[in-house]
């Protein structure tokens, strides 16, 4: 392999994935079909080969995802021959466990937590493997590789286990749960460089395409039935791509003509904006993500 730096990161992630598989009874990999989870899937393949990936994948589907991503998710799971569990935020709403947000900024992003915690309990997962990266956001930068959560899924940042020399302690009490982050030390640039190196397929929304958009507060949001459109919103069509793919209601598009991985990589690096800058949910307050994390969100 030519890229020394990626080789180091890959070594570390494989080591972490193997520790997860060895230290826990019932792991699950959270898989959305987004770029980070696609990289995670490749790393899992590499970590366990020639054995099979020893855990299921799970997606907490808000019902507001890009249809392209969902189609891609199903396709890749079939290719990898892994079991995919899907749990729906809509079900939690129907069961009156959570309430749909109102108003023009309504999003289902925060509602996912309830569905996730319920699914963890339903299947008895003792560890959820996630593709969160420390470079994404300030509170993420504080995460350990093994993040212990209590019965309620809460993150106690003052009580994090030290991980000197990357020695990982996954011992937990019954009812506790761990979030494991094998790509903690990867940056957005590393992810794209790796996608290029490994020749990984991505959902089409990551590349430039013509799309109907809603212009709101200076951001471009995909036009969809899920969005509460108000009078001040402007509707237009442009060539755009998405740098991060969450719910259609809270992910902003970038004007772009980059239609290959190489071009995306080049364009991202030239941009001074951060990836998370396109997450409208994080802009609710400076600590929006930290607050969600404390409550059990990823």
């Amino acid at each position: 392999m030519t890229n020394k730096h990626l080789y180091k990161l890959e070594n570390e992630s494989i080591y972490i994935l193997r520790e997860v598989a060895a230290q826990f009874k019932k792991p699950v990999l959270l898989f959305s079909g987004g770029k980070d989870s696609i990289v995670m899937a490749r790393l899992a393949q590499k970590a366990f080969y020639p054995s099979k990936i020893p855990f299921s994948f799970m997606h907490i589907d808000t019902g507001h995802n890009f249809p392209e991503t969902i189609a891609f998710r199903d396709e890749i799971v079939k290719k990898l021959d892994v079991n995919l569990i899907v749990r729906y935020v809509q079900d939690s709403i129907d069961e009156n466990k959570v309430q749909e947000e109102a108003g023009k900024y309504a999003s289902r992003n925060a509602l996912q937590t309830v569905t996730l915690l319920d699914a963890i309990e339903e299947f008895g997962f003792d560890v959820c493997i996630g593709g969160a990266r420390r470079d994404e956001e300030k509170s993420r930068a504080k995460e350990r590789i093994f993040s212990v959560r209590d019965d309620f899924g809460q993150w106690d940042y003052k009580n994090q286990r030290p991980e000197p020399f990357q020695m990982l302690n996954g011992k937990i009490q019954f009812g506790e749960n761990v979030r494991a982050f094998p790509i903690s030390n990867w940056t957005e640039e590393d992810i794209w460089t790796y996608i290029l190196q490994e020749n990984l397929d991505l959902p089409t929304v990551y590349f430039a395409h013509q799309r109907k958009l809603v212009k709101r507060d200076g951001a471009l949001i995909a036009h969809s039935d899920f969005l509460n459109i108000v009078e001040s919103d402007e509707i237009e069509e442009q060539s755009v791509r998405f740098r991060t793919v969450g719910d259609m209601t809270c992910t902003a598009a970038f004007l772009s003509t980059a239609d290959t991985v190489e071009k995306v990589l080049k364009e991202n690096m030239a941009s001074k904006h951060s990836e998370r800058g396109a997450r409208i949910d994080d802009k609710r307050s400076e600590s929006a993500l930290e607050d969600r994390k404390k409550g059990g969100y990823f």
Binding site: E12, A22, Y157
Partner: protein, 414 residues
């Protein structure tokens, strides 16, 4: 691209977060969102200079209290290097987080306030850098703007630092430089106010560091899992998945395994679909051997040479205590080296080290949070490991409380 891991440490208010913010800002590595935040916070506070500390303090409590509580990892790259900075808290009660942050670093930056000189924390930070066997230490004498960029003040602190280094009697490469993170002097841009300093800037020093791989160490491989595969491509495949802890292994090498002591020959080194000729320190691979010998998670594979002889049931070690509940003589703890695990008991607490004068050994009946103590440990089953001074990667262990499951100590085998 060279990947360099750095850790930063300083006492409260030494300006550590500002230094990192400055490093990113002057390397043109801030995102638009971070730039906006800096401008907004600076305005709110009514400062004349940019408040660059807001980039790293990630938690609400940190911003409220103006201190760093937990290690933050910051990533930035320049044309030639990628940096991972572990920004560790300075306050004594967070020493455990500093150990975590610095343990994977190659270089540590220790900040010293030009007005105050060395503090108890500075001795502690330096001692931990030595204990963790970092490749080098950089002392940034910060806040030079508050002492009128005075050369004599800097030289006086430099002497204090040199005395501290020579008192420890350890040979570690170190550099001392005067900076002002707030104003930007000597961080990335050479200071115009301190023409008397002709050495490199912090940025130049960091770009000069190279990570070293410990290939000259003896080969040690920690088995994480055993893989069996039986499919169209593999018939009766049996391989040992793990990470090379130290040294190098090639196909055809004769190996000895622990705890059994059995020997065999490496027939294949695999990484995914690639079959490799050799693997070295830090590589995650799958090894296959010629003979069906007893190997499972927690086994160690070594070269069958004279160095791979000892399994230990009793050892002396230096331990940094990370938990609020103190350790006592007789405390029973889970001992963990990589995938190897055993129960252990503290037989005796030999002495506790005062980082401010490390040669001065204190006697104590218990090991409290942030104490650095030498202990004798007894294990319930023999474990193969090296002494930390001979083989850093294979001489370090964790101590876990069997009741709370908390990681309560990190140890370095004598």
């Amino acid at each position: 691209m060279e990947l360099v891991r750095i850790s930063t440490a300083g006492s409260v208010d030494d300006g550590k977060s500002t230094l990192i913010g400055r490093l990113l800002h002057d390397n043109n590595a801030l995102t638009k969102e971070q730039e906006t935040l800096v401008l907004q916070k600076t305005k709110e506070k009514g400062w004349d200079d940019l408040d660059l500390s807001v980039i790293t303090d990630g938690l609400v409590a940190e911003r409220e209290q103006g201190i760093t509580i937990d290690v933050a990892h910051i990533y930035f790259s320049t044309d030639t290097h990628k940096f991972i900075i572990a920004d560790s808290p300075g306050h004594i009660e967070y020493t455990r987080n500093m150990v975590t942050g610095a343990s994977t670093a190659e270089t540590s930056i220790i900040l010293v306030d030009a007005r105050k000189g060395l503090l108890e924390q500075s001795f502690r930070h330096f001692f931990i850098s030595i204990l963790l066997k970092l490749d080098s230490v950089i002392f940034c004498v910060n806040k030079m703007d508050l002492v009128d960029y005075d050369e004599d003040r800097f030289l006086k602190i430099a002497i204090e630092i040199k005395n501290m280094v020579s008192d420890l009697g350890e040979k570690i490469p170190f550099k001392i430089l005067p900076v002002s993170s707030l104003k930007g002097d000597n961080v990335v841009v050479k200071s115009k106010k301190m023409k008397w300093y002709t050495g490199p800037t912090l940025n130049e020093i960091l770009h000069d560091s190279n990570s070293k791989k410990s290939v000259k160490q003896p080969f040690r491989f920690d088995v994480q899992q055993v893989y069996h595969a039986q499919n169209k491509d593999f018939v009766d495949f049996r391989g040992f998945a793990g990470r090379v802890v130290s040294g190098t292994i090639s196909t055809g090498d004769r190996v000895r395994t622990f705890p059994s002591g059995n020997e065999s020959v490496v027939t294949e080194i695999r990484r995914y679909t690639d079959v490799l000729n050799e693997a070295s320190a830090d590589d995650s691979v799958v090894l296959s051997l010629a003979d069906e010998i007893d190997i499972s998670r927690g086994s160690t594979i070594c070269l069958a040479d004279s160095s791979a002889t000892k399994e230990q049931k009793e050892l002396s070690a230096t331990v940094v205590w990370l938990d609020e509940k103190p350790a006592l003589q007789g405390s029973k703890l889970i001992f963990k080296v990589g995938a190897r695990e055993s129960l252990s008991k503290i037989q005796s607490i030999n002495y506790t080290i005062d980082p401010a004068s490390p040669k001065n050994h204190l006697t104590s009946s218990q090991i409290e949070l942030n104490d650095i103590s030498n202990v004798d440990l007894k294990l319930s089953k023999p474990i193969f490991m090296d002494s930390y001074s001979e083989n850093k990667k294979n001489g370090v262990f964790l101590l876990v409380d069997p009741q709370s499951n908390a990681t309560v100590g990190v140890g370095f085998a004598d």
